[in-house]
Amino acid sequence: MNFYPRTSIVDYLSIYSASQAAILHIGDSQQIRSRNNVIAIQQVPADFEEDLYGFNDFEIFHRPEPNTPIVSDTNMQNMHVFPTIKVHRVYITGAAGASIVHIGSTETIQTDTRIKHIRDFRTYAEIAAQNEEKKKEKENKICHP
């Protein structure tokens, strides 16, 4: 493989936010590998005391990466008549979740994101009632084993 990257020229870059394992890279690189696991919980009565959910509880975080072979028998040859890529202005609002904003060349990029959404629409009253039930069950178990 012959990899001769071009030079990237950017006059102005504006980026408001880069969060959650996002990368803002200026310059060349050889290999980029990033991974991001997310559990997003929407719950009306916020409960920060208990650790209700863990990555080990869900299968999606343990599923193997899809096997997409990189090897190909194509013989690719590049000819750069102009040695530069010019971009005058770049405006980015946000970068998040194992994403990459890269100015410059790279040989390989590999990223993997797993996202699990949990929406708990129970109200305060429902949660209180369910907790009460659980308590009663426990008490009953202790009294009549």
Partner: protein, 58 residues
């Protein structure tokens, strides 16, 4: 298979991007190979129920 690529002049004025998220890339440059994976697990309750909020102010 033989595959020949000839790159001539490339010059761009403005690029506006709303968001780069979840294993996506925004690249100004060359790359040899790129492999991006993303898996979502979203219950049906997560159907959009909130009003549309624009990401960009423009």
């Amino acid at each position: 298979m033989n595959f020949h690529v000839t790159n001539y002049q490339l010059e761009v004025c403005d690029v506006h991007v709303g968001a780069v998220a979840s294993s996506s890339i925004f690249l100004i440059g060359d790359a040899y190979w790129i492999q991006l994976h993303s898996m979502f697990d979203t219950p049906p309750e997560s159907l959009i129920i909130t009003p549309y909020i624009p990401l960009s102010l423009r």
